[in-house]
Amino acid sequence: EAGVAQSPRYKIIEKRQSVAFWCNPISGHATLYWYQQILGQGPKLLIQFQNNGVVDDSQLPKDRFSAERLKGVDSTLKIQPAKLEDSAVYLCASSAGLAGVEQYFGPGTRLTVT
């Protein structure tokens, strides 16, 4: 079974530029998550989708971050414009259900904002 795929793996941009990350979840997984993990900390949930609908985006900085999940499969996370404090690893995860199930994580995208 193929795991969660993410691209790119690494990205370096200058502040105020824009960047987009892509995620392909495990086939059949209805729930998709985007997390931000700053060095030395645990992952923080940014947004959670159930199929193509948003379940929770309470911690998404909506003035600069946006995410979509067209057709309930792939998802993209965009940052525009980026700030220095956005430097982090962005993790995508998926799960088969909505509650009480394990999440499967992709390898992440390491973003450096200079």
């Binding site: 645990g42 959670q48 379940v55 993790l91 909505l98 509650a99 009480g100």
Partner: protein, 112 residues
């Protein structure tokens, strides 16, 4: 902050020894999970324990949950060098739809 706290922040042991990590949280939960993260395999799910369970085993892993104290522990027995990683607890808050809140993590170093 609602983030879980883990203790210790770092742990160094020799191969063959046991490693114990603790996690504390502040809210009512549906379940608590433990994940491992290393550079080779990313973030990987280890074990899930539900709020009505007190102890769970999986291979060399033993997890306990005390909801009255809002705490959990992960015990790794007979550790191996390959267990070197960061370990995170993540809890699913009651009343949320599988929204995991991760702890701060314990960095485990297992030396030969």
């Amino acid at each position: 902050s609602q983030q879980g706290e883990e203790d210790p922040q770092a742990l160094s042991i020799q191969e063959g020894e046991n490693a114990t990590m603790n996690c504390s949280y502040k809210t009512s939960i549906n379940n608590l999970q433990w994940y491992r993260q290393n550079s080779g395999r990313g973030l990987v799910h280890l074990i899930l324990i539900r709020s009505n369970e007190r102890e769970k085993h999986s291979g060399r892993l033993r997890v306990t949950l005390d909801t009255s104290k809002k705490s959990s522990s992960l015990l790794i027995t007979a550790s191996r060098a390959a267990d070197t990683a960061s370990y995170f607890c993540a809890y699913d808050r009651a009343g949320t739809a599988s929204k995991l809140t991760f702890g701060t993590g314990t960095r485990l170093q297992v030396t030969l």
